[in-house]
């Protein structure tokens, strides 16, 4: 099977994720879309590793998974806190950092 | 061998932490009620003359913390004096040297060592700190910490001041140079006077940071060119920087010089000083103007001149011109001030003009005079600021117009003010005369016109000091001042030693000069030798006279 297909799939997944981040307001969904983008990257890494016969891409994929796990833990906690205080998971309501 | 300098740095540093901890431990809860009460007492009526007495456990804790801080400052003074007595005035070069690796990757060392100039400046800071503490003892009674935090900051500042003069590693010097800003920032911004104090503190910080960052570039440049940060390996005819191109040297010189000129402060980058002085407590101003600013002039001697001798000739005339402008401009501005703290700040601009003039005249008398001037100016201006502080403590104002006829009700206060002022105008018999005279004599040998212009500053000094004295101390006493109290014992002990030192060093300055002289001989030699070595034209300019 042509590894290029995996690359295309990764690109598609990434695009879906990016669009989701940009257009959705709900923090949970945005969060899931970020995960989607991360996993698209993972897929690309693994595919490239396979293409070049180099183990490093797979190693990086593991790194990304670890980071993603940490990110999920922190991110979800933040979202929980925001929801608790504001009764809303909308990203546009959380704009305290604006100028 | 006793690591004198390390002890002198560590002792106040430990003291700062200890005092801070002590203040915390003994005054756990902010006694806000008491604070409100005292604020009402002082802020409500400017006519209250009585000092606010602290009460309650918080005050007791603060009192103990302040006593501890005073003890640490006295211990530091003892260490520094003991060190000074062991100083060999006959030997040139650095003494009490210590070198330990700090960041080996970048060649950074913890290296300390002093020559005569650094030694007398360390002595100056060690003498001033306990006196400043005495003078400031009651200043912060209306605060919940009773001023203990302020005292801790003073100690922290002292550690850095000793460090900056003792540093024999350019990077270490830079670290102390920048770190000094932090305690001063809080001493002005948090513990200062008036509405404008936060703004003045920020102004001071930004000014200094700009200079500091430019210096950082030069510091890195020194490392890139010289391959080491160790001052002893960089300076001197055989040092790592001895053979660098003149153009490069000029740029590096400039990088250091801008930082030092801002610190000094030299016209036209002096405008932070009057604001900072006005917003400072007098004690802060004493340390700021008396010691901290000396880092600028000290740095010019130690770093600009000694590291980049080949660049000196290019800077002599511009710096001399700026110094002359500083002398006359500062004096005239001082005449035009209505706030005593600002007035004294401007007189310092004028006096720092004398110091930089002396340094860059490149004659032995002028440089020795400039180095001595740094110490004497610390004593004289310190005494002036403290006396103004006593007035502020009584009336809550530093405005000249708020006073008059003080002499009648508080003759000792007026007398102390007069002696401090006379020292400020360099009356013979008081310490500043010797240094000013040496600068002038040395500068005349360098260039007669420059000396004559500088002499104008001497006449103007009489005007700004005596006019201030006349407006505040003489004339009929207004009704509102009739209850003004004369100096109390604590205040006498705060300012008395300074006056004694002014008289002693006015009549017998030779011990200080003996300590300074070998160091000056070195800088004068380096300045002229190298200039004559590079090319004839430079020699003519740099080593004239």
């Amino acid at each position: 099977m042509d590894p290029m297909n995996y690359i295309v799939l990764a690109a598609l997944l990434f695009t879906i994720g990016a669009v989701g981040v940009l257009v959705r307001r709900n923090a949970i969904i945005v969060f899931m879309c970020v995960e989607l983008m991360l996993n698209a990257c993972n897929l690309a890494f693994v595919a490239f590793a396979r293409m070049h016969g180099d183990i490093e891409g797979q190693v990086i994929a593991f790194f990304v998974m670890v980071v993603a796990a940490a990110e999920v833990v922190v991110g979800l906690a933040i979202i929980m806190q925001i929801f608790r205080t504001r009764r809303s998971a909308s990203l546009d309501d959380a704009n305290l950092l604006k100028n | 061998m006793i690591p004198w300098l390390t002890i002198a740095i560590a002792l106040p540093a430990i003291g700062a932490v200890a005092v801070w901890a002590l203040a915390r431990a003994q005054a756990p809860a902010a006694d806000t009620a008491q604070r409100r009460r005292s604020e009402a007492a002082t802020g409500g009526g400017t006519d209250t003359i009585t000092e606010v007495r602290p009460a309650g456990p918080a005050a007791v804790g603060a009192e103990n913390a302040k006593r501890a801080a005073f003890g640490f400052s006295l211990a530091t003074l003892a260490v520094v004096v003991a060190m000074a007595l062991r100083f060999d005035t006959g030997a040139g070069g650095l003494q009490f040297e210590q070198t330990h690796e700090w960041i080996p990757r970048f060649g950074v060392h913890y290296a300390v060592g002093v020559d005569g100039i650094a030694l007398v400046l360390i002595l100056l800071s060690a003498v001033l700190v306990p006196l400043v503490m005495l003078a400031a003892w009651r200043e912060h009674d209306d605060r919940e910490d009773g001023g203990a935090g302020y005292f801790a900051l003073i100690l922290a500042l002292q550690a850095m001041m000793v460090g900056v003069f003792a540093a024999a590693d350019v990077f270490l010097f830079y670290v102390f140079f920048e770190a000094m800003l932090i305690p001063v920032y809080f001493m002005i911004g948090r513990y200062g006077r008036g509405e404008q104090r936060a703004r003045a503190a920020v102004k001071f910080l930004l000014y200094s940071l700009v200079g500091g960052l430019i210096m950082l570039v030069a510091v890195i440049g020194v490392y890139v060119v010289g391959g080491t940060f160790l001052w002893t390996e960089l300076a001197g005819p055989g040092g790592a920087l001895a053979g660098i191109e003149t153009e490069l040297a000029v740029w590096l010189f400039l990088g250091f010089f801008i930082a030092f000129a801002i610190k000094a402060p030299m016209w036209p980058v002096h405008t932070w000083l009057p604001d900072a002085a006005q917003a400072s407590r007098p004690g802060t101003a004493v340390l700021l103007v008396g010691v901290l600013d000396k880092v600028g002039t000290y740095g010019m001697l130690r770093y600009c001149l000694e590291l980049f001798p080949s660049a000196v000739s290019a800077f002599v005339w511009p710096v001399v011109a700026l110094s002359l402008v500083s002398i006359v401009y500062g004096a005239i501005l001082a005449i035009g001030q209505s706030d005593m703290m600002r007035l004294i700040a401007y007189t310092s601009v004028s006096h720092f003009g004398f110091i930089t003039l002396g340094i860059f005249a490149l004659t032995e008398q002028a440089q020795a005079g400039a180095a001595l001037y740094m110490v004497n100016h610390g004593f004289a201006t310190g005494a002036l600021f403290l006396v103004v502080g006593f007035l502020i403590a009584r009336r809550g104002s530093a405005q000249i117009a708020d006073y008059g006829g003080v002499q009648k009700v508080a003759p000792q206060l007026a007398g102390v003010f007069l002696v401090a002022g006379l020292a400020g105008l360099a009356l013979p018999g008081l310490a500043p005369f010797v240094s000013e005279f040496l600068v002038l004599v040395g500068v005349y040998a360098f260039n007669p016109v420059a000396a004559v212009v500088a002499v104008i500053g001497v006449v103007l000094a009489a005007l700004y000091i005596l006019w201030m004295f006349q407006r505040t101390m003489t004339g009929p006493t207004p009704e509102k001042l009739s209850g003004l109290k004369d100096l109390n014992l604590r205040e006498k002990w705060a300012v008395g030693p300074l006056l004694a030192l002014l008289i002693v060093f006015g009549l017998y300055p030779q011990p200080l000069l003996d300590a300074i002289d070998p160091a000056v001989e070195r800088t004068v030699q380096i300045g002229t030798e190298d200039a004559s070595a590079t090319d004839g034209a430079t020699a003519e300019e740099g080593g004239e006279g």
Binding site: N99 | L333, Q337, P428, I456, V459, Q470, P509
Partner: protein, 650 residues
């Protein structure tokens, strides 16, 4: 012409005194150390010394006087050319080849001054015990007086210009403190500041002169500087000479730095007598004589000295003739008399003896006149307006007698002190010969005429004529501790001149030290020479005019309008107005302008920079909308651009 060959210390280095060869001389430093200690004890001791402080302060100058007398006898026991003794005390400060020592030069000139200072000073201390008895600040007053005596002795005993400068500024400080002694009076405080400031301008001259000496001649001690004079260029000597003259003008209230002296009369009268008549104001004359070799090497500077002296002599006389304030009139007289001494000193070796001799006799009779004026003011409830005096001779006989003797001495009545020394000056000026001698001599004669007029006017208005007292004034004679010093000074006014000049006693003593020429003083010649006769004629003329104006006619209680000369003289010849117009107002404008520049330009530039950074950052801050998704979009764009760039580049 080798004018400097007379100087003993040029022929050989002065002998260095040691304790072994002269115990008295090795303690010469006690001369000023004693009063200095007195000042320190009184100032630091505070109220504890209130009871006995003034007595201690009086004893110490007397002790100094005794020591000075011992030193004088020690010197007299030496050969004429071995009387210049250097007494090193300690090294003050030294850097490289510069060195300034606290070293004393005891020679006939300095010891003459030391004796004058300690003698008159002691008398004035005694007088002040009575004069200041009621003043709450008496202890402070005596401390300042002691400080003054100490500083003045340092000034005259110094063997180098730097130590001289210490004394020079020290007397300036004491003068400042004493003029402003009654600080609660704004006029006194202003006068004190004015005196110090104008003196500072003069000091500037001295300071620059010292700088030149070190830079060019390589030394600051008298002997080394004078030894280097023959090798110095004319320009350098001229510059040093003019700068020293500037210093002398400041201290001695000579034109153009004269404006402070009349205001200085705000100080207590003993101060006026000691500092502003007898001693401090004569320091300029001392400096010119001491620095003789320099002036002798610079003819133009010497001419400047002559011009300044002559101009001040006449200006002072004119001012003194118009002032109704007794102290200010005396101050004008002091200016005039010192102008005469400066003129004599400007003559060079020919005039040194006359200048110093007149300085000493003047110290006696002018101090006596001031003390007399103080006694009168005491009696008149501190009133100083002579138009409200009159007829005091009977009420205050001792004061009248002593004041009268001083008066007769100063106007130059033959055989009294002033006559001897004034005749010496007149004879020295005419001795120059040619037109110069004639012009200068005539000027001195004119000065003598003015002296006779204004002093007679003062005596007539004060002691003779009808009483014009204000209501409630009951004149009375002063207590003994005030009159005794007056009597002693009057005795000096009577006989000191004869003592000094007969047999050329003083000339012989002083000449070797300052390289002066000794001119024999012939009494017979003084009465028969044309200038001697002229002096007597103007004396009679001056007294007669004053008699016609102030004794024959009753004196108006309010000053008449007077001619424009009178008005100008009353306004001190517009000296203050000139200072104000030339210096003060432009200075104020400059100060204001610079303050504006500081705030509006330099500081505004810095603040503007700060504001610029703040504004631009707040502008950029607007991009921070707070919407996380817009940030994400920006990021995406950024990533796309980076990626696109990479693709294109590769």
């Amino acid at each position: 012409m080798a004018v400097t060959q007379h100087h003993a210390y040029l022929a050989a280095e002065p002998a260095v005194a040691t304790a072994a060869d002269s115990p008295v001389l090795s303690f010469a430093w006690l001369l000023f150390a004693l009063p200095l200690a007195g000042a320190a004890i009184l100032l630091l001791g505070g109220r504890r010394t209130d009871k006995w402080g003034h007595l201690l302060a009086t004893v110490l100058p007397i002790a100094s006087f005794a020591l000075a007398a011992l030193i004088l006898f020690d010197l007299l026991g030496r050969a004429g050319d071995a009387r210049s003794v250097s007494v090193p005390v300690y090294e003050w400060f030294a850097v490289g080849d510069f060195s300034a020592g606290v070293n004393l030069l005891v020679d006939p000139l300095s010891i003459s001054f030391a004796l004058l200072i300690t003698f008159v000073g002691s008398l004035i201390h005694v007088y002040s015990i009575g004069y200041m008895a009621e003043d709450p600040g008496r202890r402070r007053f005596f401390a300042y007086l002691n400080l003054f005596v100490a500083a003045m002795l340092v000034l005259v005993l110094a063997d180098n210009f730097v130590l001289l400068f210490l004394g020079w500024e020290g007397v300036g400080l004491a003068s400042y403190l004493l003029i402003g002694f009654w600080q609660y009076k704004p006029t006194a405080a202003t006068a004190a500041k004015k005196a110090f400031l104008i003196n500072r301008v003069g000091d500037l001259g001295l300071l620059v002169a010292i700088m030149i000496m070190f830079a060019v001649l390589g030394a600051v001690s008298f002997s080394e500087v004078f030894a280097a004079v023959p090798g110095a260029s004319d320009g350098i000597l001229l510059a040093i000479g003019l700068l020293l003259l500037l210093g002398a003008c400041g201290k001695s209230a000579q034109l153009p730095l004269q404006a402070w002296l009349l205001d200085a009369m705000e100080g207590p009268t003993p101060v006026s007598a000691l500092i502003h008549a007898a001693t401090m104001v004569t320091a300029g004359v001392y400096l010119i004589v001491r620095a003789g070799p320099i002036f002798e090497g610079a003819a133009v500077a010497q001419t400047a000295v002559l011009a300044v002296g002559a101009a001040t002599m006449l200006a002072g006389g004119i001012i003194a003739s118009a002032k109704d304030d007794i102290k200010k009139s005396l101050a004008g007289s002091t200016m005039s008399q010192i102008g005469m001494m400066v003129l004599a000193a400007g003559l060079g070796p020919a005039g040194y003896v006359a200048a110093i001799a007149h300085l000493i006799t003047h110290g006696f009779f002018k101090a006596g006149l001031f003390l007399g004026a103080g006694s009168v003011m005491h009696a008149m409830n501190e009133g100083v307006d002579m138009r409200r005096y009159g007829g005091l001779a009977t009420k205050m006989p001792i004061t009248f007698a002593t004041f009268g003797l001083g008066y007769l001495a100063i106007i130059g009545v033959p055989l009294l002190s002033g006559w001897w020394t004034k005749e010496s000056i007149i004879s020295a000026t005419f001795g120059v010969g040619g037109t110069t001698g004639l012009v200068l001599g005539s000027a001195v004669i004119a000065g003598a005429l003015l002296t006779a007029f204004y002093m007679s006017r003062m005596v007539f208005m004060t002691f003779l004529g009808k009483p014009r007292w204000e209501e409630g004034v009951h004149p009375h004679e002063s207590p003994a501790n005030m009159t005794v010093p007056m009597v002693l000074l009057a005795i000096g006014s009577l006989g000191l001149g004869a003592f000094l000049m007969l047999g050329d006693r003083f000339a012989g003593f002083l000449a070797p030290a300052v390289g002066a020429e000794v001119h024999h003083f012939s009494v017979a010649h003084a009465f028969t020479a044309p200038y001697g006769i002229a002096a007597l004629v103007v004396l009679v003329l001056g007294v007669a005019v004053a008699w016609a104006m102030y004794l024959r006619k009753p004196v108006a209680q309010v000053a008449p309008k007077g001619s424009f000369v009178t008005v100008a003289a009353r306004k001190e010849l517009y000296g203050n107005e000139i200072n104000e117009g030339l210096l003060m107002r432009p200075g104020q404008v400059l100060t204001k302008a610079l303050v504006t520049i500081e705030d509006k330009v330099i500081d505004a530039a810095v603040n503007g920079l700060g504001a610029g950074v703040r504004d631009s950052s707040s502008g950029l801050g607007r991009a921070q909308t707070g919407f996380a998704r817009s940030y994400a979009l920006t990021m995406l764009f950024g990533a796309v651009i980076v990626a696109a760039t990479l693709v294109v580049r590769l």
